[in-house]
């Protein structure tokens, strides 16, 4: 029965593999189990697609974070802290709990020069493909606290929240959460979380996209950043910094 339905479907919509008339009842349960299958398979195979053919070694990643590599990469912890929370200056992005796929992708692109950064390019070049996989797996695995930061201007946060959750109809700006997940929790493997990321870093990165210095994300972030003015960039940055996603939320969205 299920394959009969599978074999008969249209050119415009996907097939139904389910028996007609039963879905409404069982949909919630089905959704839960299917989402698990979906995310698990999706994330695993995506990571495999770009990995080095071996399971990443997070313990080795921790060694790199603490001590650097014999090939000359300095310890990541010097700027990003051993637990990946960096520091309250916001000059360095928070890495803790970020998608391993995303982190590895950025390191590869720093190394290849597709994302330019005077400090990060030589460091990434000094890391082997195995090192990149391992250190990304390490920082992705960390459940770290959020540093106490000065409370931002509530009006700025409110404007940022509107843009992040709703967007702007009159200016044709879609919301950030479309891609970055509910309250910026991330849509792993490819899309990083913003919740709890430092405002300074978010604003700096948006400016880099806006000015054309950062290009390694299709063209999409460039298009988005160019729609925003300075005040709006400050607003979304301030909003996301103070959305302290609980680690449970971040974990439940990760699965990598």
């Amino acid at each position: 029965m299920s394959f009969r339905r599978l074999g008969r479907r249209g050119g415009f919509h996907p097939p139904y593999t389910r028996p007609v008339g039963r879905v409404e009842r069982s949909a919630t349960r089905l959704l839960a189990s299917a989402v698990a299958v979906f995310s698990l398979l999706g994330a695993v195979t995506l990571v495999q697609a770009q990995s080095t053919g071996r399971e990443p070694d997070a313990k080795h990643g921790a060694v790199i974070a603490a001590q650097g590599t014999p090939a000359g990469a300095p310890p990541c912890a010097q700027c990003h802290a051993f637990n990946g929370v960096s520091d309250a200056s916001g000059a360095f992005p928070r890495l803790a709990g970020q998608s391993a796929y995303y982190l590895a992708d950025q390191l590869q692109e720093f190394a290849a020069g597709e994302r330019t950064s005077a400090p990060m390019t030589p460091i990434a070049k000094a890391l082997s493909p195995h090192d990149i996989a391992d250190v990304s797996a390490y920082y992705a695995s960390i459940n770290a606290p959020f540093l106490p930061l000065k409370a931002p201007d509530p009006a700025l946060v409110k404007r940022g929240e509107e843009l992040a959750k709703i967007g702007s109809a009159e200016r044709r700006i879609q919301n950030c959460d479309n891609c970055h997940g509910p309250e910026g929790a991330g849509e792993p493997p490819a899309i990083p979380y913003l919740a709890g990321q430092y405002a300074h870093y978010i604003a700096f990165t948006l400016q880099m996209w806006q000015q054309g210095y950062r290009k390694n994300s299709l063209d999409q972030m460039g298009v988005m950043a160019k729609k925003l003015d300075d005040q709006e960039i400050a607003a979304v940055a301030a909003y996301y910094q103070q959305v302290k996603a609980t680690l449970e939320t971040a974990q439940s969205h990760r699965n990598d």
Partner: protein, 594 residues
């Protein structure tokens, strides 16, 4: 008693693709236009934004964007010996509701029809003979359109640039272009945007099809491959392959829809007024029955109004165009016993359903990363692209074949091979094994019109306003089954060449069922043509009997084409509007004298 309102120049019944185009062209000509939409107003921001929009239960299963069939359903039967029953849950086809209509929840699959499609009857007789056509089925009532591809080409071009279609030309002014579809009808220039990136399933299909000597090409898509500013100055963005396209609206300004390609300009025009939650009950005629005086409608509070207008555009979903004509007494209703009458005649559908190809576990498809039109296609079996003269049993028509996977969403997509239990541990194991290692191939093609298939008013069932439902009487003509089954065999060979381990064969079967999804390309019922005895509207989509009423859209197709029909509807509508603007407005009256 209906309140009589101040007259306006024109009204549109429905504000979707055709309603937006018609209103825009008319306000550009200085007319005052009112658009009636039975659904709600909605915009990309905030209505289509995440997390709301990626809700599979709400949109795919409960079909939140579709016509409210608790209020207005369609009744259905396979043949005129049966009693039709109302369709209480949309499955086979999905008429949209709400501002933007079905052109919001479409997939963006953006094909042109072929040269031969527009002259199907004369071309078939010329190439194969009348005897052959009779052998395909004496019940077939296929016709020429009354408009040719060459006449429509400039309007195809205009509409594709309005939408920002992403694709690779296969034939520019007769010159075959490498990388495109060599069977394509000649186009005047390249697509406005390059094709989308080819997903892995497409690459595997390309390899398999090429090895058998077929001609793969990238599916033209109105999910854009790069940021684009259309000729009206509206900015669209690049598709991010989110996997939620058909049945959904785009959160990202990356799919052509009325909201992204035209509506902002229309809604800002002082000559335009949008009225939502308004159900048009009928078009009113004067005492001669030859002139429309406007429409009667009910607003969201249940109040009835008369809106006088000089021109009425019927711009609803094709089925609702036909129903509006029938409820208004415009044109003679089709009578299947005598074959006389035109409204409801030549309703046609589409043949769909291709094989499922189960691959080795080492092949990772990642089907969740997808746009609405990411396919790799072949047109070797489309329409009249292959010689039918030796087909036994004989048939006409054809199908495109391609791998188009539009998102591996969890509720809808869990392919399992034959013999798998339908639930329980074994089913779960099979889903986990096959979810990421299965490729779907589409067969999608023509359906011929037949004197047995038609639309009329249901004698029993009524809508929320007490008006009869539209009744659909339809089954696939034997011709369509022969065609689809012939191609199904060829497609299984492609599946094997792709490395498929298990293949579930596709192909259309009878009886037609409304209980599972096939196609939303319902066509015909108010068809165009050159003879008022066999068509409801002339070549400019003007009603023969009431020249100030125009019925725009897929209801005008005399029979259905191989392809997804939105781009052809757009082109046909712009073609008609051009003549309405340049001729009808200057001198109202019949544009064609029968």
């Amino acid at each position: 008693m209906a309140t009589r309102l101040q007259p306006v120049d024109a009204v549109t019944i429905g504000v979707g693709l055709t309603g937006s185009l018609a209103a825009y062209e008319m306000v550009q000509s200085g007319l005052k236009v009112v658009g009636f939409e039975r659904g709600a107003a909605r915009e990309t921001v905030p209505d289509f934004q995440s997390p709301t929009i990626h809700d599979e239960l709400r949109y795919s299963i409960r079909k939140a964007f579709m016509q409210d069939n608790a209020k207005v359903a369609v009744s259905f039967r396979n043949n005129s010996d049966q009693t039709a029953l109302p369709i209480r849950r949309w499955e086979s086809f999905l008429p949209g509701q709400g501002l933007g209509g079905s052109f919001v929840h479409w997939n963006g699959q953006s094909f042109r029809a072929q040269v031969a499609d527009f002259v199907l009857r004369s071309r078939t007789i010329q190439r194969y003979g009348q005897k052959f056509l009779d052998a395909c089925g004496p019940e077939l009532t296929i016709q020429d359109w009354g408009v040719t591809y060459d006449e429509l080409e400039p309007y195809y071009d205009r509409f594709e640039y309005l939408c920002g279609v992403s694709g690779k030309a296969g034939n520019i002014k007769g010159q075959i272009e490498p990388g495109g579809n060599p069977f394509e009808a000649p186009r005047s220039r390249e697509y406005p945007n390059p094709p989308l990136k080819e997903p892995y399933f497409g690459a595997i299909f390309r390899k398999g099809a090429t090895s058998l000597g077929y001609h793969p090409y990238p599916q033209p898509s109105a999910n854009l491959s790069r940021p684009y500013t259309n000729p009206l100055g509206l900015k669209l963005e690049q598709c991010v392959f989110c996997g939620f396209c058909e049945r959904y609206a785009c959160e990202h300004y990356a799919k052509a829809s009325p909201q992204t390609i035209i509506l902002p300009l229309l809604l800002n025009n002082p000559n335009y007024e949008l009225r939502t939650s308004c159900e048009v009950l009928r078009i009113n005629l004067d005492s001669t029955g030859k002139k429309a005086t406007g429409v009667t409608y009910v607003d969201g509070a249940g109040r009835e109004f008369q809106q006088p207008a000089e021109i009425v555009f019927i711009t609803a979903f094709p089925l609702n165009n036909v129903r509006t004509l029938l409820l208004s007494g415009i044109g003679k209703p089709y009578d299947p016993r005598t074959g006389e009458g035109v409204v409801g005649r030549n309703y046609s559908y589409q043949t769909t359903g291709g094989p499922t190809v189960f691959m080795d576990e080492s092949i990772n498809i990642n089907p969740f990363m997808s746009s609405g039109a990411p396919g790799t296609m072949i047109d070797d079996f489309s329409g009249d692209n292959f010689d039918h003269s030796n087909m036994n049993p004989p048939f006409i028509g054809g199908q495109y074949v391609g791998s188009i996977m539009t998102g591996g969403r969890p509720i809808e997509f869990h392919p399992v091979p034959p013999g798998t239990p339908r639930w329980g541990l074994e089913w779960k194991r099979a889903v986990a094994r096959h979810y990421n290692h299965t490729i779907l191939i589409q067969q999608h093609g023509t359906s011929m019109s037949s004197r047995l298939n038609y639309l009329d008013l249901d004698p029993t069932y009524k809508d929320a306003w007490g008006q009869p439902l539209l009744r659909m009487t339809f089954d696939f003509p034997e011709n369509d089954i022969r065609m689809s089954q012939h191609i199904a065999d060829k497609v299984v060979e492609i599946g094997r060449a792709m490395g498929g381990q298990t293949i579930i064969r596709g192909g259309t079967k009878r009886p037609y069922s409304v209980a599972f999804y096939q196609s939303t390309h319902n066509a015909g019922g108010a068809i165009m043509g050159g003879d008022p005895k066999t068509s409801a509207v002339n070549r400019y989509l003007q009603c023969w009997d009431v020249p100030n009423v125009f019925s725009l859209g897929g209801s005008a197709f005399p029979q259905n084409i191989t392809y997804n029909y939105s781009i052809t509807i757009g082109a046909l509508t712009l073609w008609a509007l051009d003549t309405i603007k340049n001729k009808y407005l200057k001198s109202p009256g019949p544009l064609v004298h029968a």
